[in-house]
């Protein structure tokens, strides 16, 4: 039994560290998507990778690395608040752009809409 505990204690920093690195990589991929996607609405989708999976994996890794349960509770609270607030923020941005009349890029050939009125 104590051997199993030893193995788990040996694995703990590795598992936590690897999860943190995967989360950071996902955040990087989300940022690359934000730069590459053609218009405002599609960029919101790329940012949602960072909001969901990157945050979850990083916080999970940090929780595994955490020294005591209080830190785990705080990380869980951060996770909960991010999951409640980030869709609200994305929706507010998308709704504001739609209400202001920003035309999206649509279709597989990514037709550029006529947005000259806004640019003028």
């Amino acid at each position: 039994m104590s051997e199993l505990l030893d193995i788990l204690m040996f694995l703990k920093p590795w598992v936590g560290g690897i999860l943190c690195v995967i989360g950071a990589l996902l955040a990087l991929i989300g940022s690359i998507g934000v730069l590459r996607f053609p218009d405002f609405f599609t960029r919101l989708h790329a940012a949602s990778i960072t909001d969901t999976s990157a945050v979850t994996l990083s916080l999970l890794g940090m929780a595994i690395l955490a020294p005591n349960w209080l830190v785990v509770f705080k990380l869980a609270a951060i996770w909960l608040f991010i999951f409640l607030t980030s869709p609200t923020g994305s929706h507010a941005l998308a709704n504001a752009a739609h209400t202001a009349g920003l035309q999206p890029v649509l279709g597989r050939d990514l037709r550029r809409p006529d947005n000259r009125e806004e640019e003028a």
Partner: protein, 165 residues
Amino acid sequence: MGYFAGLIFVLAALWLGLSGIYKPLLLILAGISILISVVLASRLETVDREGSPYGRSIPILSYWAWLMVEIFKANWPVIKACVSANLNINPAFVRVKTRCESDLAKTIFANSITLTPGTVTVEVEGNKLLIHALFEEDATPDSFDEMDLRSYRAADGKREEELAA
């Protein structure tokens, strides 16, 4: 009354979890701050089904667990689209009807759609949602049907009985 009990319980749990120092003075201060929060919330008249939805914790938590799996499944195509050499995306606006009636259920459904990578709720009008999707072929109205049903059950299920009681 149940709403007040739920709010006090959650505030107390939050305080105990965040503080970590359990001396008598701090516990008294915690009690006072929880009391002030509850009094202010009741004066704002927010202690109701929406402000304190803890009575439905179990359905909402089980819905959340299902949603996490869906979010991680939906992440994959968006990650591929971000890093693939040519931009293989097909953005479109989709209109979806929802069966959710209360504001809480509609909020849960719309926020679930926004949380899922590849779809963002742009507008909610009555029982119709305007959704911007990254892949038009994945975002048929049928694909939102299960999420709609599940969020309806999580927030609105048995609501008629609750209202009657």
